[in-house]
Amino acid sequence: MSEAKLPADQKDPAADPLHSDRDHPVENKAAKGMTRRGFLKGAGVTAAGTALLEGAQVFSREALAATRGEVSGVKEYGPGPVQVSLQVNGKEQNVLIEPRSTLADALRLDLGLTGTKVVCDRGACSACTVLLDNVPINSCMTLAMDAVGHRVTTIEGLAKDGEMHPVQAAFVKHDALQCGFCTPGMVMTCSALLEKNPKPTEEDVRTAIAGNLCRCGTYPKIFAATLEVAGVSSPEVTPKA
């Protein structure tokens, strides 16, 4: 990864409309300088939601500063690779990354933590969910550089002392997974929900994973698994039709 790279801002989206992101509103904002980092977990996904959820607050000051053009005192990086230290699953790790590298790519490609999945690469599916200071974020929409100085927890870091996290165990018990590709993201989101709200309702679980897509259709069992960990029984998940 030592060769010179084309800086991200030299990409000419017009060169190839099929590869351009011009048809996408989130990316349009990126072009205006708001950057991918402003768009974290929960930004309008399957449904028409538009609110930025809790994750956005992590960077709200930076995002604001960026949109106001307050750039003085900001150090510029790139376009070449830079050495940064990421704190992942309790360990400080040095990585050489391009500043444009997303956290998802840094985790998967540079640190070999491939449990985090990339599906849409634009904040629409949450397969790439990791925790940043215990808050679930979409790692495909977060620059690795922006994770510096924060605690990153990935699916590989969820088990403690070889013991599965209760959410992981409940997912297996309830068969809340099929192909398993959405599963790491689902588990991260549900475990973060329980951290914040140990007694959620089924509605809370539905809302928490509203941004997590599963194409195999594991949702009902995810509700059941998560509620069981919380010790909550819900008539919804054991329906009598």
Partner: protein, 803 residues
Amino acid sequence: MATTKVPISTDVVSDVVAEAIPAGMEMVMMPVGIPGYTLRQEQRTIPATEPPVLPINADLKFIGRSPERWDGHAKVSGQARYTADVQLPGMLYAKFANSNVPHAKVVAVDTSAAEKVPGVKGVFVIENLLGSAKLLNPALDVSKYPIIRYAGQPIAAVAATSPQIAEDAARRIKIQYEARPFVVAMEQARQADAPMVFPGPANEEGTAGGGGGAADVPQTGNIHGPSVNTHGDVEQGFKEADVVVESHYTTQVQVHNALESHGVVADWKPGLLTVWASTQGTASVREGLAGFFRLPKSQVRVITEFMGGGFGAKFGPGNPGVVAAALSKQTGLPVRLMLDRKEEQLSVGNRPSSDQTLKIGARKDGTLTAVQLVSYGTAGCGTGAGCAGPATNMYQYDSLRTEENDVFTNAGPGTAFRAPGHPQGAFALEQTIDELAERLKMDPLDLRDKIDRNSARRVERQVIRESAIWKTRNAKPNVDSGHIKRGVGVAQGVWYRNISMDSAAEVRVHQDGSVEVLSAVQDIGGGIKTVMAQILSEQFGVPPQQVSVKIGDTNYPVGPNSGGSVTTASLTPAVRDAAWQAAQKFLAGVAPALGATPEDLVLVDGEVRSRSGKMAPITFRRAAAKMNTSEVSAQARRIPDYDRKAYETYGGVDVAEIEVDVEVGLIRVKRILAAHDCGRPMNPQQTKSQINGGVIQGMSYALYEDRLLDPNYGLMVNPNLDRYQIAGSREIPQIEVHLVQSYIGQSSTDASGIGEPGGIIATPAAIANAFYNATGVRMRSLPMTPAAVLTALAHSQQKKETA
């Protein structure tokens, strides 16, 4: 587990019949039918080498139970390594350069700028495109490079040291097009003066998962068809009808969107091409690559250890597979080529649209006199839009005529998609049956009882009839007066018993008491690994988690391609046969040390026992230590179904309860009860998971999904998951699955598949019938978006006012 064959009493089998049994065969009695309803013993003549007949699930310890998913831990912990996760030393990342126009001749491809980007190691220009239909006479359109027939068609690719470099370089490939007029809307493509997608007859081959259309059919303009099927005389049938219902239905294009995209990691070494592939068929990828590169199959190895979902579009190497292999050959380095989401939506398959005119005639008693379907559908620049399956195979009728037409458009080729043609066909058929029931003043379940001979569905309808949800149905439509109207509707699906004879497995027993099973089959999420472990558990008494399951590698005995719901039905008998044979070898191997004859030993419940009682039982593990070799193994392959004359279909009956907000046009699905059969359910929990998935995908198809192409530019407007809407957590109804065990006496496991029969076929139609029940208005078009709902309601209002 019963290890003795069900004895055949001599007063059942006369000597004459017994003499007629061919050499090497024996007669057995097998459970057939539905426990609690129709269960009985039926006679089958089977090879004498077959294992003992399995009793019904209630009498088994591991099969038919729901031990946890064998690889569940790997998947929840992030340890499961999918194709997209494979990283090899020196591996390059490849990226396609795709067409940004929907129809053109490529006159030049200039890769020089891309080659100069530092980090680029290889560039490849496609000259032989896979996936689309092909002109029968290539001379009609001579071109060095494949003709561009859809926006997003891959043209070339680069391999570089990082994904970012590959992406940057791919953009620097300059493509010179000679643009051609194009057409993306099917209605337009059907017109005589429409731009021609192909200048002459073209065919698309199906894949191991189905798809592809009829080949020997006329082609006029863009219309490839009709493919005609007739039975009896429909004209006569309609004359004899007391009631005739004729309606027109349309359905949209749906994109698979398995979460893991298509892609491979290819590692071309002298003498061996190794490919990790996100595929539904390791065998199909091996076969495709060997054929494409003219390699002996023995020099192609395909690995699919974990696979992030497949719904019919992932067979064969496809363009990603051959391009990655070519780039690996060129560079001497492993190459990863995974499609991004946009490419996934544009270039590797979809469920074709449909435009159906369905006419059904019935007598007063409900019997069908005539069924007539004329369908058009577009699979883009491919074929396979036929949807006559349900109309042809679900009900009894006196006469039938179906005409299926493919319409070429400048869009990505369609492929098999979970029950190809069936959700479309059932959407029209099941609404027509609902309409007929109303016209005949019959209950919709009673009418189906009259015309549907399938015994499992009869039981399923009974389950529905007795359910709380059905009892709340108001037979009269549109009774709620507020703006939220509630409705309940029912619909059925049909699927077929498909068996792949390329299904083999090897079972090994080791001296330390460990057992393993090996097959090239891949687990695409259905859970075949768990089921294979359960079969060994049943044989050896070892808990499923202690069985080693090694699959997804063509180094193992060949496995079926997972399409058409074949996997469990095809492979499990081979696994059981191999386990049985390995157990017999094991008993022979330990008999001398135990001072017994092999014939006197049986392996039951994890114990070696003596039939004669000469020897005290000894655990399997302790007996294994006495084996006279370090390992015994047996390989078995699928034998044909025991009674192939008994043609079996599967299916299910789904009932949906919905609420329609008639002010804003929003449909909320509240509850689904899905009653389904799939032979012997091997692992009910996993089976239910799959049916949940089918129901949810069916609902998603019915209400949200729609591939939108811009008619002015021919580009897809919603090529990622932000705008291509699929059902998410907030849309999920309460789903109850009722599994009907339905034994058919066909193999040593008597299992069938569920991927296709479960949910995807019946659910959209059940929702549509529930909509009618709620509002008194028919939705004849999918998806039922708020805009479409409001339009349908307004039309019916207008009609009423003008009437």
